[in-house]
Symmetry: C2
Subunit: 205 residues, 2 copies
DNA sequence: GTCTATATACAGATAGAC
DNA sequence: GTCTATCTGTATATAGAC
């Protein structure tokens, strides 16, 4: 009889279930919010018992943090090769990328906006989102500055202020996607085009 | 001829307590949200028992509706006499009024934004807010149209689109008041001025 | 690791005395 | 109208068998 050595004792032993729990939690929290997703729902969706969830995670709060981190994993913006474009088209492209990002991550973005408005949720996660946001704004600022320096943009543009205004306007437009407004006679897409037009109208010499 | 309604024909009751409950509920719901204000909190603040609240209102949901209506009571925008200003300054004034309104009703506006993002809350109340919003947008639209027709604004302005863009930009800026952004190098007030400048820069001939 | 069964807490809501 | 006491449901979390 051979002594049984449990090769599976530590490292890569089935994160299968833990992973399923995390996925389900991530989806449900994003779609329905923290308050409206009891552990029982996560348990049902992940096809495990509630007790098992709390064996893997110390508490619901703990699960929430872990799930939120996972939600943020795909949060990056690939700006690609902006260098080949002139500054005006760089601005347009950045605006489009931002809009696409929000569209692609609709549910989780809405959820995060909700968290930020109420200033709830783990601070480290929120600050992570803040960094991404700041990075994007910095990109806009530098592009405007660059265009000003090489004379393609007006000499009196204010890179910081103009970038911030473009970004907040963008936020306002995209917010409309989360709020149904039956009186609106414009579409977010139409407004997006108009934003790009007016922004360039202001920036270009 | 209109029949007068005798207000005193209804019982000589003191709506004192009911009113206190409504006030407390209104404040707590606005500040902490529906989920985070149990009836026990409303009861404590209003100095009554939970049971009494449910004697006055059929359910928590019912209380919520009533409280929300009260929250919306001061929701109107007094545009004053716009007629004395030229169209450019009318736009500026409208933007300022909107900003002031949001500032004056910070907590309840944030709460309503939260409700609308999550599309929860009584439909009739939400649509009431939507009407106010649409009305304000219509005011902007007409002002721009007017300015175009009398030649003070460019002939190629698009009243509907330009008004909508100004309004969504405004929303984006004011949203920042609800979200703390430690990396920001601009203030909402600064952005507001910049929005007015760029909007007029685009509109004026 | 995974389960069933249970503990504990607290929410909204009811019953009934006063 | 207002209270105390209680019901009922559901949430998070724990105990302990397998």
């Amino acid at each position: 009889m051979v002594a049984e050595v449990d090769v599976n004792e530590v490292p890569h032993q089935r994160p299968r279930t833990r992973d399923r729990i995390l996925s389900s939690a991530s989806r449900l929290f994003s779609q329905n919010g923290y308050e409206h997703t009891p552990l029982s729902h996560v348990a049902r969706e992940a096809e495990v018992s509630k007790a098992l969830i709390l064996w893997h995670f110390d508490s619901k709060e703990d699960l929430f943090r872990a799930a939120l981190s996972r939600t943020l994993e795909p949060y990056y913006i690939d700006v690609g090769d902006l260098g080949t474009l002139d500054e005006g088209n760089q601005i347009k492209k950045l605006v489009d990328l931002y809009a696409k990002f929000v569209r692609d991550n609709r549910y989780s973005v809405r959820f995060l906006v909700d968290l930020m408005i109420r200033d709830s949720g783990p601070a480290e996660v929120l600050s992570q989102v803040g960094e991404l946001y700041a990075l994007f704004r910095e990109l806009l600022t530098q592009t405007i500055e660059c265009g000003r320096n090489n004379g393609r943009f007006r000499h009196d543009v204010n890179p910081t202020l103009d970038a911030a205004l473009i970004l907040t306007s963008l936020d306002g437009i995209l917010m409309e996607k989360f709020i149904k407004d039956e009186h609106s006679q414009t579409t977010p897409e139409g407004l997006l085009e108009h934003l790009k037009d007016t922004a360039l109208h202001r920036l270009l010499s």
